[in-house]
Symmetry: C2
Subunit: 265 residues, 2 copies
């Protein structure tokens, strides 16, 4: 998958990017048309969606709309899950759910569980989320195919508004070697997740040798600044005024680096 | 260092954050008053600095202003640096410079060098930067003390404008397990780098158990969206409208997780 080099250099005019919270969405439930809810909410707050907006949507509302919710009472844990759960005072059904969402375990220790999900994302608890899900025993899985979810929302927004937008599905991730979580991209549509600046020149005319910017992750982190502010009542942000490299085929997994190719670990 | 819990919940009104590029700064050189250059440039583009703005400044202009530049021709490499450099066709003086900036080597392989800097940051090449530095043989080191650099810019901006702002010094980092670089914080002043949301409730009234957001890193990633756009001619971004937790004592090293405590690696 080759993404085109960016053509978004600006010269002359000042350039402001806006991060706009999309609020007062109803509580998203299974079967909801998320794109329609987003469009309506944006219109009601007079920030109707514009051409080339980037919509960052937190995965948990996508999972709720797609009914990708599991009731832990319905999960029969394996002996392995039970023994790990008992050792660290965890819920065996939750451990079982995490393992079922994973293709491999990266690390099990201290009661924490880092796995590679079936999508190929390496994260804590396979992204299984106990927050912002109705029902005490319900957890949200990551969307089945986050790129497809993003594509679906993007297509539906085009149908409803005629506007071509980029859609990114975000998740909150802890990180190796750094404290605190940031938001990153787990699904993309219409946007290339990496901006390739190799070959461009620096301020003094020297060619940049390594410069591939994970813009989809940076956009999710920017979106979190409004999304994270209000007890999750804001599941969507619009980023307006950022000139992004387009792609019809890009996938968020372009952002994951296989463990065996990693230099840090 | 305890940072207060955020009190920045918004209700009712729509909330837009702006990311504004500060451009047309002169090429920053040693001894320059960076705060003054930033204030002047912002005023000239009619985005004069306001109370509670967050200024994100790329480290390389700080290093240039603070004369934290090394001419590789003046560096005598050790035998160790020479042998590593020869093996991977690298510049021995550059390798020597990286080692001198480091307190330990995390990984040496494939010609790449991941170290823990003397500041306690784990990154490639100890942050030694060959881009955006005048002179073919000159490289920029990280600022000697990035928190102090941020504090100095902040104090000077207050003196010049009377406004209290937050200042963050940013750097571009590659990351374990994910492809592409993002911008993160290596120095902070006036802002708590982590927003602690533990104890807050989610949409359905359940208490969030783990939620510490690395807002300083997210702000740097947001800033990169304007800074990275124009061949490094924009070394500064203003982030306006984000309500941040204040701190007079916070340090960017609150964001680094010691390798021995890391679950991922």
């Amino acid at each position: 998958m080759m993404c085109p080099k960016t053509d978004s250099h600006h010269s002359g005019k000042n350039h402001t990017i806006q991060i706009i919270d999309v609020k007062d969405l109803p509580v998203v439930k299974e079967g909801d048309n998320l794109a329609e809810l987003i469009c309506n909410a944006a219109e009601q707050q007079r920030t109707a969606i514009q051409e080339s907006d980037i919509l960052v949507v937190t995965h948990v509302v996508v999972s709720r709309a797609e009914e990708n919710i599991v009731n832990l009472d319905m999960v029969v844990p394996s002996d392995f899950a039970k023994s790990f759960a008992q050792r660290f005072n965890k819920d065996p059904a939750l451990i079982e759910t995490v393992l079922r969402e994973s293709r491999s375990v990266v690390r099990m220790g201290d009661g924490k569980l880092i796995t590679e999900t079936k999508h190929g994302i390496i994260c804590a608890n396979a992204g299984v989320d106990q927050s912002n899900v109705p029902g005490e025993r319900n957890v949200a899985l990551l969307p089945e195919n986050p790129d497809r979810s993003a594509q679906r929302i993007r297509r539906e927004i085009r149908r409803l508004t005629g506007k071509d937008v980029a859609v990114i599905i975000s998740d909150t991730h802890g990180r190796p070697l750094r404290k605190g979580e940031i938001n990153i991209a787990i699904g993309v549509a219409g946007i290339c997740p990496i901006r390739d600046r190799r070959g461009e020149k620096d301020l003094f005319g020297q060619v940049l040798r390594v410069k591939q910017t994970a813009i989809a992750d940076e956009l999710c982190s920017a979106a979190e600044l409004v999304i994270g502010q209000a007890n999750e009542r804001i599941p969507v942000a619009i980023i307006r005024g950022y000139s992004y490299p387009r792609s019809e085929e890009a996938k968020a997994t372009e952002l994951t680096r296989p463990k065996e190719k990693d230099l840090f670990i």
